[in-house]
Amino acid sequence: MDTCPQTENAQGQNPNGNHILITKNLNAYYGSFLAVRDVNMAIAPNSITAIIGPSGCGKSTLIRCFNRMHEVAHGARVTGQLLLDGEDIYGTGIDPVSVRTRIGMVFQKPNPFPTMSVIDNVVAGLKLSRIWSRRRKMEEIAERCLRQAALWDEVKDKLKQSGTSLSGGQQQRLCIARALAVKPEVILMDEPCSALDPIATLKIEDLMHTLAKDFTIVIVTHNMQQAGRVSDATAFMMMGDDRAGQLVEYGATKQIFTNPKDKRTEDYISGLFG
């Protein structure tokens, strides 16, 4: 990866054409209600992909399909394919547990575990996959992840305090560190800044750029400026006439924002609705 990933990953495709995540005819249902219809998109490794669209268009539902969190809700199911490195994560015999260790997630509201210390929060996921874990080793990994999440300097004196004693922005970066510790290939972020103030938001946006060197990031945001600032590729979703969300346009961020191909994208970008 070079200094400027924005240009290199244009159009959501990189020159050699390999993709880390590919969705094929992905549909998401709540019971009999079709929430997301027929999504086809391919995401390049080490890119930042933003999913934007008016509220209720199914963007959160879509991103939750990416690591099989959608099916956690009652009656929710998914049809279609989602290939991670060429392997269908909805294939038979694939365990959602192992999918989620490869595709991490950061949620809308920071959700650290209140009964765990800062350190234990960071290594919570890591400890799951180890029957036995050495305290020193865990502390090392926690420090590395906290540094990666640009949080170390702020919390190095309160590692033993509860995860909920931090400020909102710090809590969200703690949640990012927690996701990093599992060493996923992809990190999904579901409106990670919607509960944060502008300064904390800026910190997280900066962090995303650094993280893109090592991870592939998919972010849902309702904030177009944010999508424009951070992402390489942008997907625009909208609710269809049947109230199912669908992918309207997907391409390089620059192209979507300056030269959208679809009239609906143009209307949304120029603030005509939504």
């Binding site: 365990d95 547990v97 192992s98 799951l128 996959s129 180890r130 029957i131």
Partner: protein, 282 residues
């Protein structure tokens, strides 16, 4: 390779623990059904019209005996207890939800919760000490007081909780019409909370109807029909206890019939309350 093995172990453990949880629930439900089933099936064979309409047969072995006196006695002390507990509990609930300042409310609420945790036998002894001893006689009234104390916190807390569910906008609307506070409580809030309050009262009555321990020290039991509130009075749970612990086959059968009656009452009340709250929910 090691990772795959760990995952298999984790999944196995997951399966085991989830199964154990299911087992716990199944065990609890099976026990309830077995117990209720046994009591109903066993009790109904000895239950007949005589049981409700006749007094205890004398001497033992005479057919056709019943628990009329006990059923009437229980009805009397339960109604009387309800008559005492409902007004006090209702007003306490009104205070908690409408008038009390947060600190006062929390201490009253705390006291109500603690009172509901006081063992019923202790309440029985309390009633014995303050009523039976000074009056030098076991009495229906002392039993009613004991049952009322048991029922009081139930009524107070359910009243409070149901009244809290009435939206504040309704109160404001009433006050804005120039209605005074107490009239708005009576004409707007309480009607809105009525289903909840009635449910609470019915549940409370079902609970005190089956209470046995406090009656040992208050109602005491009696072989005769009801005459006065200041004399010992027969009660269904007491008689079931005495008969169940007796060696006589006839009495045991009577005890089973009584258990059937009590269990049916609980069953009917529970189902009715569930039906009411379901209807309100939808």
């Amino acid at each position: 390779m090691l990772g795959a093995l760990t995952l298999i172990i984790r999944k196995g453990f997951n399966f085991m623990m989830v199964s154990l949880c299911v087992l716990g629930a199944v065990l609890a439900m099976t026990l309830v059904c077995m117990m209720l089933g046994y009591i109903l099936v066993h009790g109904i064979t000895f239950f007949n019209l005589d049981f409700i309409t006749n007094e205890a047969a004398f001497p033992i072995g005479t057919p056709g005996g019943g628990m009329r006196n006990e059923i009437i006695g229980t009805a009397i002390i339960v109604s009387l207890g309800t008559l005492i507990a409902v007004p006090v509990g209702l007003f306490a609930g009104i205070f908690l939800s409408e008038f009390a300042s947060p600190t006062v409310a929390s201490s009253v609420r705390f006291a109500a919760d603690i009172l509901s945790g006081v063992p019923s036998i202790v309440v029985g002894i309390f009633a014995y000490a303050i009523i039976v001893r000074p009056m030098h006689s076991f009495s229906a009234i002392s039993a009613a007081v004991a049952l009322a104390i048991i029922m009081l916190p139930v009524v107070a807390r359910t009243t409070e909780e149901s009244m809290r569910l009435v939206p504040g906008s309704l109160r404001e609307a009433a006050l804005a019409l120039g209605i005074t506070r107490w009239r708005s409580v009576l004409s707007v809030v309480i009607p809105g909370a009525m289903t909840g309050i009635v449910t609470g009262v019915i549940l409370g009555m079902a609970r005190i109807a089956g209470e046995t321990a406090p009656l040992l020290f208050t109602a005491f039991g009696s072989n005769f029909s009801f005459e006065s509130l200041s004399e010992p009075i027969a009660a269904l749970p007491l008689q079931i206890y005495r008969y169940a612990m007796s060696p006589y086959q006839d009495w045991l059968q009577q005890a089973w019939a009584g258990a059937f009656l009590l269990a049916m009452m609980v069953l009917v009340v529970s189902l009715a309350v569930r039906f009411i709250s379901r209807k309100r929910g939808s």
